[in-house]
């Protein structure tokens, strides 16, 4: 009986029912492009302290010349199927699920 319960817990849910860790933990993500590839800043929209930290980091990156874009995409099996048009973010919006911070662009 116990082994059956443990086996049930270890079984992964089907692919179409799999949820992302962000949805389970309600963590929103800000991906920052940098020389290491990218670093990820997360915040909990239900936590004021977490939002304040994320806002502070957002403002710091804006001062460095970064541009912020909300990534409102619809994905299916890990592949983007629809990209919804969004404008650039000039102010931090804690309700956005995923934000991409792009460094300053220069003409070549």
């Amino acid at each position: 009986m116990l082994s059956q319960i443990l086996d049930y817990c270890k079984r992964k849910p089907p692919m179409n029912m799999q949820v992302s860790p962000e949805t389970v933990s309600r963590e929103h993500v800000m991906e920052v492009m940098d020389p290491t590839g990218h670093t990820t800043v997360t915040w909990n929209p239900d936590s004021e302290a977490s939002i304040a930290d994320a806002r502070r980091e957002f403002n710091r990156l804006k001062r460095l010349g970064y541009s912020a874009f909300p990534m409102n995409v619809v994905m299916e099996n890990g592949v983007v199927v629809e990209e919804k048009d969004n404008q650039r973010m000039d102010e931090f919006d804690p309700s956005v699920g995923r934000v991409m911070m792009i460094p300053q662009l220069v003409g070549g």
Binding site: T36, R88, G107
Partner: protein, 234 residues
């Protein structure tokens, strides 16, 4: 012909009669200088002089001419005294040379070890930097692929480019992801390349992050992207 007459006759040809009379009153003695290998010869000089009337062209003045005769003379050097206490015999000299050889080899070996250690340290640092750069590149590639549609993934995998639609103008832009950031964006009109656009992040950002930044900026902030970019002819 005496050597004085030789020189006097040579000079007389360039002077008038009054000057010729003056020249005959003086000695013109040539001096011969040679490059003496022996540094111990010094020169002594003997000077004779005479006073005569003025040359033509000068008014009311007396001119004093002088003749200098230079001849070498030998000089006797002081005797060199050798202190025998400072001398070494052959055996001592050999021992000293041997010790110096040993010191040189030790110093050279220490120097070589130091250089090898430094080279090894530099090599380790370079490998570490290269590993970090590879890791960053792989991470950026994964991020780019995660933000491509199925069609973009296919063209990127097959041809190393993908097409993006401009967010405001709805124009087609082909981003060539073949390893270069130099004018890698083609503005398309159908299948024809109208112009090439160059705009990218700073060079310390990994390559595939640059391509993703170009894609996102074209889709979401096209006007600002084009205002920053440089446009070149196709």
């Amino acid at each position: 012909m005496p050597i004085n007459d030789f020189f006097i006759s040579d000079v007389n040809q360039s002077l008038n009669t009054s000057q010729q009379a003056l020249v005959s009153d003086c000695f013109i003695v040539p001096f011969i200088t040679t490059a003496m290998p022996n540094p111990f010869f010094f020169t002594n000089s003997l000077t004779t002089g005479g006073t005569s009337s003025s040359f033509s062209g000068c008014t009311g003045g007396n001119i004093t001419s002088a003749t200098t005769i230079i001849f070498p003379s030998p000089v006797v050097m002081n005797e060199i005294v050798i202190d025998e206490d400072d001398l070494m015999n052959n055996q001592e000299y050999w021992e000293l040379a041997r010790q110096r050889g040993v010191q040189f080899r030790i110093r050279t070996a220490e120097e070589r070890q130091r250089q090898e250690a430094e080279a090894a340290r530099v090599r380790v640092e370079q490998e570490r930097t290269a590993a970090l750069r590879r890791e960053a590149k792989d991470k950026s590639l994964a991020l780019l692929i995660a933000h491509l549609t199925a069609e973009q993934r296919e063209t990127f995998t097959r041809n190393k480019w993908f097409v993006v639609i401009g967010g405001q103008s709805k124009k087609k832009y082909r981003i060539r992801a073949d390893g270069s950031l130099n004018s890698n964006i083609d503005e398309m009109h159908g299948d024809r390349v109208v112009s090439r656009i160059c705009c990218h992040c700073l060079h310390d950002i990994p390559l595939y992050d640059n391509y993703l930044a170009q894609k996102i900026a074209l889709m979401k902030d096209e006007r600002r992207f084009l205002s920053i970019a440089n446009r070149h002819a196709a």
